[in-house]
Amino acid sequence: MPTTFENGAVFLLIFRVLLQQVINGLTLGGVYALIALGYTMVYGILELINFAHGEIYMLGAYLGIILLGFFTAIGLTAYSLPLSIALVVVLTVIFCSSYGFTIEKIAYKPLRKAPRLSPLISAIGVSIFLQNYVMLTQGATDKVFPHLFGNAGFRFLSTTVTYLQAAIIAASALMMIFLHAFVMKTKTGKSMRAVAQDKTMASLLGINIDAVISVTFVIGSGLAAIAGIMVAAYYGLVNYYIGYIAGIKAFTAAVLGGIGSIPGAMFGGVLLGLVESLGASYISSEYKDAYAFLILIIILLVKPSGLLGKTADEKI
C-alpha cells in the first residue's frame, strides 16, 4: 500500500507530464492554427482547397534558414541578434506573400470559372513544382536551423516552458487577435467577408474581387511564413517535404473548426495540436500522423460543417 505521500508524488508526476504535453500541444496547435487560417480564408472566398499552401509554409521555413545564414555571413547576427531576427521575419513574410500572390495569379486566376476539379489539380501541380524546386536548389537532406535560443526557459506550475515555446504560443495568439480585428474592423476585412458571402453581389456593390482575393492570399501566405520560421526554430530541422504533412494537418484543423470560419480555424488548430501531443504520449507515438486523418474523417462523417461552422443549404 503506497502512503498518502507517495500517492501525492505520483499524482504530481502524472500532472507534470500532462501539463508538459499540454504545453507542447499548444505550441504545435498555434502553428497549425496559423497555417489553417490560410486554408480557411482561401476556401471561404474561392471554395478552393489550396494544396500549395503547405508549400508556402515550407518555403517560409527554408527562407528563415537561408536569410539567417546570410545575415550571419555578413556579420549582422553578431552585431545585433534581435535586429537580424526581425529582418528575417519581415523578409520571409514579404517573400512568402509574394509567392502566394504570384501562385494565385498564375495557377488559380485563369481557372476562376473552370469546373471545381481544375484549380485543385492546378494546386497539386504547384505543390509538386515547389517541393521539387526546393529539393533541387537546397538539396534533399535536412537543413539545420541555427541553435539560437537554447533550451532556456522558466518554471511554470512545476514544468519548464522554454522561451521559444512561450514565444510561439504568444506570437500565434497575437497574430490571431490581429487577424480577427483586421477582418472584423477594417474596410478590407469587410470586403473580404462580403466576397466570401456572395461574390457576384459584392462585385455589383463595387468591391474589386481580384484585389480582395490577392489580399487573402497575401495574408494567408504571410501567416504560413511565420509558422514556417517558428517550426524551423522549434524543431531545428527542415525538409523539403514538411509542407505536405503540415498542410494536411492544418487543413484538418480548418475542417475541424468549420472551414471558412476564422475563429474555427484557430480553435481547430489548437485542438488538433493538443490531441496530437496527448495522443502521441498516451496512446501511441507511431500513429501520431494518423490521428489528424482519423479526426478529419470522423468530423466529416459526423458533422461536416465542423465544430464552429454553419451548415449551408445546397443551392440548385
Partner: protein, 375 residues
C-alpha cells in the same frame, strides 16, 4: 499617342514579369542564377504569352480535327497486333517498362470509373492498390496460396474495402470526399508501415512467388508482358461494355447532375457505391500484378504521390475517355524513362505541366469537351 503608350507598356510588361519572377527565386538560387533566369524570362515571357494566344486561337481548330475522328473507335483494337509483337522486337528493359505501364493502365482505368464516369474525386486511390498488393503478398507468403487462387480472394478484399469506405464517405460531396479519401489512403499506408508483426512494417514483404501457368512458372519478363497485356485487354473490353450499359449511363448522369439524375429515378447512392467498388476492383487487380511482378511489396510504393500520379494519368489523357486514359498512363510511364538524363527535373516538368494543362486544356490532351465535369 495612346497607341505608343500602349506599345511601351506591352514592351515593359514582360520585363516587369521577368524581374518579379527572378526576384522571387533570388533567395533560393543566388544572385548570378537569378540574373540568368531574368535574361531567360525576358525572352520567354513574351514567347509564352504569344504561345498562350496561339493555343487559345488554335483551340476551335483542334476541336474540329477531333470531331473528324470517327466516334466508333473499334478500329483502335487493331493496335493489339503491334502490342503482341513488343517482346520480339524490343530489349528486356523496354518490355519491363511496358509491363509497368500496363499495370498503371489498369489502375488508371479503375480510377477513371470513379473520377471520370461518376465524377467523384478520389485522392487516396492508392489505398486499394496497396490492399490488393498486400493481400496477394500475405496470402502467398503466409499461407502459400498460389497466384490464381489468391487473385479472386484479393479482389474480394479490395472490392469489400471499396464498399466499406464508400458507405460512410458517399454522404460527402466534392472536395470533402476528396479529402476523406486522401485521409483513408494515408491511414492505410501508416497501418502497413507500423503493423510490424503482420506486414513487416517498412521492411516490406519479399519472396512473393511468381504466378504459375500450366505448371510453368512465369519468370521471364516477356511472360509477364503477355499476362499483363491479357488483363489490360480484358479491362479495356469490360470498360467498353460497362460504359454503354445502364450502369455506365447512370454514372455519367450522376456526374453531369447529381440532383437531376436522382429526380429522374436514378438511385444515386447505389450507383456511386458501385463505381467506388468497381474502381477498387481494378486497383486490386493491378496490386496483385504489381506484387507478382516485383515479388516484393513495401509501404513506400503506396504514397500519396502515387495517388496523384494515377490521377494525373486520368486527367492528362482526357477524363472519362478510355483511349485518353491509356495514352495518359503510357505518357507518364514512358516519358520519365525517356527523360532519364533529366531525371532530377522531370517532377518540375510534371508539376508545371499540370498547371499548364489545367489553364489551357482542362479537358485533357485527348479529351472531348462534353458536359460540365465536377462543376
Amino acid at each position: 499617342m495612346g497607341y505608343e503608350a500602349k506599345n511601351i507598356k506591352s514592351l515593359l510588361m514582360p520585363v516587369g514579369v521577368a524581374l518579379w519572377l527572378s526576384l522571387l527565386f533570388l533567395p533560393f538560387k543566388g544572385i548570378n542564377a537569378s540574373a540568368v533566369l531574368f535574361l531567360v524570362l525576358v525572352v520567354a515571357v513574351p514567347l509564352a504569352k504569344g504561345g498562350a494566344v496561339f493555343i487559345r486561337k488554335a483551340q476551335p481548330h483542334l476541336e474540329r480535327v477531333g470531331a473528324l475522328v470517327p466516334r466508333d473507335r473499334r478500329y483502335l483494337y487493331l493496335l493489339i497486333i503491334p502490342a503482341l509483337l513488343v517482346p520480339f522486337v524490343s530489349e528486356d528493359y523496354v518490355v519491363d517498362v511496358a509491363v509497368i505501364s500496363g499495370i498503371y493502365i489498369i489502375l488508371a482505368l479503375g480510377l477513371n470509373v470513379v473520377v471520370g464516369y461518376a465524377g467523384l474525386l478520389n485522392l487516396g486511390f492508392v489505398a486499394y492498390y496497396a490492399i490488393g498488393a498486400y493481400s496477394y503478398a500475405l496470402l502467398n507468403t503466409k499461407l502459400g496460396i498460389g497466384f490464381w487462387s489468391a487473385l479472386p480472394l484479393s479482389l474480394v478484399f479490395t472490392t469489400l474495402a471499396g464498399f466499406l469506405l464508400a458507405v460512410p464517405a458517399l454522404r460527402l460531396k466534392g472536395d470533402y470526399l476528396a479529402i476523406v479519401t486522401l485521409g483513408f489512403g494515408e491511414i492505410v499506408r501508416l497501418v502497413l508501415n507500423n503493423w510490424d508483426s503482420f506486414t513487416r512494417g517498412p521492411n516490406g514483404i519479399s519472396g512473393i512467388a511468381p504466378p504459375q501457368l500450366a505448371n510453368m512458372s512465369i519468370g521471364k519478363i516477356s511472360h509477364y508482358y503477355y499476362l499483363v497485356l491479357f488483363f489490360v485487354l480484358l479491362s479495356v473490353f469490360i470498360m467498353r461494355r460497362v460504359e454503354d450499359s445502364k450502369i455506365g449511363r447512370a454514372w455519367i448522369a450522376i456526374r453531369e447532375d447529381d440532383i437531376a439524375s436522382s429526380a429522374m429515378g436514378v438511385n444515386t447512392t447505389m450507383y456511386k457505391l458501385y463505381s467506388v467498388a468497381f474502381g477498387a476492383f481494378w486497383a486490386g487487380l493491378a496490386g496483385c500484378l504489381f506484387a507478382a511482378k516485383m515479388r516484393f511489396v513495401s509501404p513506400e510504393s503506396f504514397t500519396f504521390m502515387e495517388s496523384v500520379l494515377i490521377l494525373c494519368m486520368v486527367i492528362i489523357g482526357g477524363i472519362g475517355s478510355i483511349a485518353g486514359v491509356i495514352m495518359g498512363a503510357l505518357v507518364l510511364v514512358f516519358l520519365p524513362e525517356v527523360l532519364r538524363d533529366a531525371q532530377l527535373y522531370r517532377m518540375l516538368a510534371v508539376g508545371s505541366g499540370l498547371v499548364f494543362l489545367m489553364v489551357f486544356r482542362p479537358q485533357g490532351l485527348f479529351g472531348r469537351k462534353s458536359g460540365s465535369f465536377g462543376s
